[in-house]
Structures are given as structure tokens and as C-alpha cells.
């Protein structure tokens, strides 16, 4: 039973940014930080899906360790001292965002997700007012073969939220990733046009969980694609209750 498991979980105490905080033993640093209103930026993480630590925006420093660790995929430990806002971290996080901007073709002003985009929001919040790396200007494709949705690879940051929500929540596993490095991209079924996918149920979970304008509904103009994310925590908590 859920309640029993919870009582069996040990409480661990630690410090985040010199504040004394506590959590139960299997919680991540990110969970505990958020419970205590400590802001750690994330892009690939979303509550309700498994964590893969891919975007590295949530990296934090831990006293006594020379490595940076992703807060979303690192469990808390007794006596841990975590730092989330050092100068070095601010620099790395900005660099990560800048690399995302150079790898894709993100033209915010003409994007359907302008004003609703997590990449754009984080750039402003973390103080990225220009990108000092050269833009790659890769030629990327747009697939509008699906009846209701579009995938624009120019705006994809490969967070794989779509892959995970389709696999873990919808159970269809339509999405996957192909290629490596700057050639990596998300695909549907066996690397075929989305409209010909036999597994896609058309549920639109991937569209609404996508942090940028990479997955969008058809018929939206600039800045019109606001997304509805409420379904995910709701679905996960209902399932936990039913499986409890």
C-alpha cells in the first residue's frame, strides 16, 4: 500500500543553497528543491514522466564532488550540501541554452509558440540576451502529413518528452529518436511521415507536452499555440491511486 511505503521511506536531511531541507529517501534533488521554492531550470524534465537528465540545464554542484550532477536524476543523500546558483552553473546553463539556439533554427518572432515557449522563457529568465556561438543554420525538415498536427524539426531541442509521454502514458510508442549529434531527430514509427503512422492514436499528448513549437496543432498562427499540460500530473496521480 502506498501509505505503508511512505512511512517506510526514511527522511533525509540536507542543505540546498545553505538552507536546511529534508525529503524522503528516493526523492531527487529537483523534487526537494521545488518543494522548497528553490528554482532550478529544466527543459527535458516534466512531472509525471521518467527522467533522463538529457538537457543538463538542472545541473547542480555538490560539496566534495568534482562533478556536476543533474538535479532531476540524482537522489538526495543524508548530509548532502547542494549548490544550485553558483556563477559557474549560471555560465554553463546559459551556454547550454545558447547551444540549443544555434543547433536548431529558432526564429521566435514568427513561431506559433512565441510567448508560450519554455526555451524562449528560460533564455529571458537566465539572461541570454544574445548568442555568442555561431549559428549552424542546418537545413531541417517540416512534416505536415498528419491530419491535425505538424512536427517542425527546426524548433526541436531533442528533449524527448514526446517519446516518453507516448511510450509511458499513451502506451503507443510512436515516437523515437534516430541519428546522432547534430543529425539526431525525432521520428514516428519506422522513420516515416507522421500521417502514415499506424501506431499514432492522435491523442495529442506529445503536442501539448512539447516545450517549444516543434510539435504543434495545424491552423495556428504566430503566438497562437499555447499548450495544455494539466493532463499529465492528473493522469499520473489517478493511475497511482488506481494501482495503489
Amino acid at each position: 500500500m502506498k501509505t505503508t511505503t511512505q512511512t517506510m521511506n526514511r527522511v533525509k536531511t540536507l542543505k540546498i543553497d545553505d538552507r536546511d531541507v529534508s525529503g524522503s529517501e528516493h526523492q531527487t534533488i529537483l523534487d526537494v528543491a521545488r518543494e522548497n521554492d528553490i528554482f532550478i531550470p529544466t527543459l527535458c524534465h516534466i512531472d509525471g514522466l521518467s527522467d533522463i537528465g538529457a538537457c543538463r540545464l538542472c545541473v547542480v554542484e555538490i560539496k566534495g564532488s568534482g562533478k556536476l550532477v543533474p538535479a532531476c536524476a540524482t537522489e538526495i543523500q543524508e548530509g548532502m550540501e547542494v549548490f544550485t546558483q553558483t556563477e559557474a552553473l549560471a555560465k554553463y546553463r546559459k551556454l547550454i541554452l545558447e547551444m540549443l539556439f544555434t543547433e536548431g533554427n529558432h526564429i521566435c518572432s514568427v513561431c506559433v509558440s512565441n510567448g508560450h515557449c519554455e526555451l524562449q522563457y528560460l533564455a529571458a529568465r537566465l539572461g541570454v540576451d544574445h548568442v555568442h556561438l555561431p549559428y549552424l543554420h542546418q537545413q531541417r525538415t517540416v512534416d505536415a502529413s498528419h491530419e491535425r498536427f505538424i512536427v517542425d524539426h527546426n524548433r526541436c531541442i531533442l528533449c524527448t518528452r514526446c517519446v516518453r509521454v507516448c511510450d509511458e502514458i499513451e502506451g503507443a510508442h510512436t515516437w523515437d529518436v534516430t541519428g546522432r549529434g547534430t543529425k539526431a531527430r525525432v521520428i514516428t514509427d519506422l522513420n516515416q511521415p507522421w500521417g502514415t503512422s499506424e501506431t499514432c492514436t492522435g491523442c495529442s499528448k506529445c503536442v501539448h507536452i512539447c516545450p517549444t513549437g516543434a510539435l504543434v496543432e495545424k491552423g495556428k498562427s504566430v503566438a497562437e499555440m499555447s499548450k495544455r499540460r494539466e493532463f499529465l500530473p492528473y493522469l499520473t496521480s489517478m493511475r497511482e491511486k488506481n494501482n495503489g
Binding site: C108, S109, G115, Q120, A124, R125, D129, Q139
Partner: protein
Amino acid sequence: MAEKVKLATVWLDGCSGCHMSFLDIDELLLELAPRIELVYSPLVDNKVFPETVDVTLVEGAVSSEEDLEKIRHIRAHTRLLVSLGDCAVTGNVSSMRNSFGAKAVMEHAYIETANIHNEMPTQVIPPLLKRVRPVHEVIAVDVYVPGCPPSAKTIGYVVTELLDGRLPDLTTLSRFGA
């Protein structure tokens, strides 16, 4: 009365929206007018960039050889240079041709879709650079003001701060695409 600040504005590869947004500061223009001298701008008739300018606001990306030559000259004669708007800061819409290349774009405009004189221009039109580049890729930039266009409020704040001798903090006032 203190000496007026010499202000210039330049229009490279952009849509003039940033200049429109600048004019949109409305009555603030009246407050700024006694404090600045607009020495060079698409809004005034001076054809030659002056020897020394205190502040230059740059709209637009660097797209042609003319843009490149112009902005290098301007940098050499400006104390504080501001990248104004997304085209100057990121390349924005102007840079969308970069994935296809200048040649493909020129051929599309002057040959494939032309009704008469299907040929490449050889005069008047300045040769395009291979890639459209944000301003800071070719010269040093002192202040970045993202936005498409930055709002009148943002531009008013930036100019007022600079006139008061402070560097503006734009973290909450503007973002890419705003």
C-alpha cells in the same frame, strides 16, 4: 546646460519595425529631444556618418557587403553601440535564408519567379554575403536589446538609461521574439 548626446540610428537588413517602435515612444520623444542631437538616421537627412557619435542604435542583421562596410565604419566612429531588435541580435527573419544559401534565394527572386528580365542583378543591388549574420559576429556590441520589435517602453527605457549614464538591465523587459 549639458552638451547634447550625439545619437545615431542605422537600418541594416530589417523591416524598419524597430525604428517604428522607437517613434512609438510618443511624448517621451519630447523629453529626449532637448537632451539628444540626432546626427544620423533614416529619420533625418544626413548622408554621412559623423566623425564621433556617442550612441548608435543598430536595427537589422548584416546581410550584404554594403551592410558589412557600413557597420565597420560606424563601429569605428561610435562610443557605445546598441544591437536593437532580433535581426541585429540573432539574425531573426533576415537569417532564414541561411539554410538555403544566398545563391538559391537570389535565383528564386530574380529568375524563377520573375515575369520579365529573368537575370541576376549586376548593379545597384549590393552583393549578398554568403550568410546573414547578427551584428556582434562582425563588430563589438555594447548593449543587446532583443525583441521583434522591442516595445516602445523597452526602447524608451534603454535610451533614457544610456542618457543617464547607466547600462540598461533588460532581463524582465524584453526577450527574443517579444
